[in-house]
């Protein structure tokens, strides 16, 4: 695949990235090792891996929140130094500022960039309407349900019109139904946008249903990419029924066959460690 003649600038490109931490007692802990990841503009790529496989580490490196110990991170051809200015990040945890109302949270990216309050608010209102929260503009985050907080976070991330969306298990804290609704809405937003998405999840169903490409990480520590799968299920997809699609079932079987190995490794390692402690 590497002989692509036009050499398009990738939205996100991790080239041989390793992240290691010194262990207090001596030695080195490898979070991830030799990660190669290329995401073209407009593509939806999911990264799936067992717990502790360094999924969030990869995303943080793409965001510029973490600097790799070795290897290069590039975004649209330019090396990422400091925070990646072309990316928005959706965190697994609640990341809304609890002391700002919903509308102040949503418009934050614009006000930080120096947009006038009136303009930022009118844009924020548009987004709140899009995510179904226009009657909640003056609430504070603690007054919202978990699903509503996620919608607010979606609006907050999208309002700055980034070229890349980095999403770290954004819906994992939600119940299954709310989660499917949110996934559907995310796909609708994304389809019109042409933005690149890097989506972290431990849920293979979610990864296949949403993505153009699924990347499988090996068991940690020091995990690396063990498989990349193209998901050619045609779009637009109906996420509520997609799990019965024969193509989905075939892909799931194939990828799960690979992922299973890594999940078992992680599980056995955890058991062994418990044995040592006991």
């Amino acid at each position: 695949m590497k002989e692509s003649v036009t050499a398009p600038a990738y939205a996100v490109e991790l080239d041989g990235c390793t992240k290691e931490y010194p262990i207090p007692g001596g030695g080195t802990y490898f979070a991830v090792r030799d990660i190669n990841l290329k995401v073209k503009p407009g593509r939806f790529v999911s990264i799936v891996g067992p717990t502790g496989s360094g999924k969030s580490t990869i995303l943080s490196m793409a965001a510029g929140l973490l600097t790799p110990s070795s290897g290069d991170v590039r975004s649209f051809g330019a090396p990422v130094q400091g925070v990646n200015r072309r990316a928005s990040y959706m965190f697994q945890q609640d990341a809304l500022l609890p002391w700002k109302s919903v509308i102040d949270n949503v418009s934050l990216g614009l006000t930080l960039a120096g947009v006038s309050k009136a303009d930022a608010y009118s844009e924020a209102r548009r987004w709140l309407e899009k995510v179904g929260l226009k009657n909640f503009a003056d609430r504070y985050p603690h007054q919202l349900s978990g699903g509503m907080r996620k919608r607010t976070a979606v609006a907050q991330a999208w309002i700055v019109n980034p070229d890349i969306l980095l999403m770290d298990e954004p819906f994992s804290a939600l119940d299954v139904q709310t989660r499917q609704i949110m996934e559907n809405e995310l796909l609708q937003l994304w389809q019109e946008s042409g933005k690149a998405v890097v989506f972290i999840t431990h849920d293979l169903d979610e990864a296949i249903a949403l993505s153009d490409e699924v990347v499988i990480l090996g068991a940690g520590p020091g995990s690396t990419v063990v498989g990349t799968y193209e998901i050619s299920i045609p779009r637009p997809r109906d996420l509520l029924d997609i799990r019965d699609d024969p193509q989905f079932i075939d892909l799931h079987r194939e990828i799960w066959g690979r992922l299973k190995v890594e999940v078992s490794k992680t599980y056995e390692a955890a058991l062994a460690e418990e044995g040592e402690v006991a």
Binding site: R85, L108, A113, G146
Partner: protein, 290 residues
């Protein structure tokens, strides 16, 4: 604005609800669990106070408690009234408040500034930490005599004394508050394009405010403590001085009267701080009942 009315049993910490689309409006429909309405509670409190004071009064009258050490509540109140009606106490109260407010403002400002600075500059924190711990370990009362020598009998020795009390509380709370800011909030703001200055304004200061306010009640109290103790040890005016004068002539009524007046002054100030806190921290889920 009764204090009991605002104690909402909702926990503020970590509500991991599954994301149901429930339209909760907090603060509403919170029924006091005890079954007693706010008014009944108030009345019961009043009765309790009257019973305790009444028992005190009776025990003194019956000669069971020595009147010299524990003057009758009615006598204390009448002394309070004399102090107020003759205007005797006001100059003293004014001086005490002046010292307290100055100590509080200077102490809190210095504590805030250094707290923010050290929280953001790791090098300074590590450099100064042992020295700050040392000064904090020093029982502050022993400073009062030296401050009297340095700054004289006027208000400045009391301001300096109050300052040492207020400063450390505000400083340590600010330091912890700024350092304890949720990493995710900082990362999120940075991803949205916040500069260091904007981080301070939108993330660190609001986050630290919670901590600062929790220390505010204590530090206001300490500012007044500093002033009164300082006056007691050596001054020419102030409530502490008035108490010391009364003690000098074995006038226990006067001592108690001074205590009562101070108590109510602090209560009123605390009420104002509560108001301010409620206004500035209106985003918070609910105040814990402390």
């Amino acid at each position: 604005m009764t204090m009991t009315g605002s104690k909402n049993p909702v926990q503020k910490s970590l509500e991991r609800d599954g994301g149901h689309l429930v339209r909760r409006s907090p603060g509403k429909g919170s029924q006091p669990k005890s079954g007693a309405s706010a008014l009944t509670m108030r009345l019961t409190q009043l009765v309790l106070a009257l019973v305790v004071l009444g028992a005190w009064e009776l025990l003194v009258r019956a000669g069971i408690i020595d009147e010299f050490f524990f003057p009758r509540p009615s006598d204390i109140l009448s002394t309070v009234w004399v102090w107020i009606s003759t205007g005797y106490v006001f100059p003293h109260l004014l001086i005490t408040m002046e010292e307290s407010i100055l100590a509080f403002i200077v102490g809190a400002a210095a504590g805030l500034f250094l707290g923010f600075l050290l929280a953001r500059v790791r090098f300074l924190e590590r450099l100064l930490d042992p020295f700050l711990q040392m000064f904090n370990a020093l029982p502050r009362v022993v400073l009062a005599p030296i401050f009297l020598l340095w700054f004289g009998l006027g208000i400045w020795s009391k301001v300096a004394f109050g300052f040492t009390l207020v400063f450390f509380i505000v400083f340590f709370n600010t330091l912890e508050g700024v350092k304890g800011v949720d990493r995710v909030l900082v990362d999120n703001a940075r991803m949205l394009g916040a500069t260091e200055k904007q981080l301070l304004r939108h993330v660190f200061i609001p986050s630290a405010l919670t901590w600062i306010f929790s220390s505010l009640h204590i530090s206001v109290g300490f500012a007044i403590t500093g002033a009164v103790v300082g006056e007691y040890l050596g001054a020419s005016s102030g409530v502490g001085y008035a108490i010391a004068q009364a003690q000098g002539v074995f006038d226990t009524r006067g001592v108690f009267a001074g205590m009562f007046i101070l108590m109510f002054a602090v209560l009123i100030i605390d009420l104002l701080v509560n108001r301010l806190e409620k206004h500035l921290l209106k985003w918070r889920p609910s105040r814990s009942a402390t």
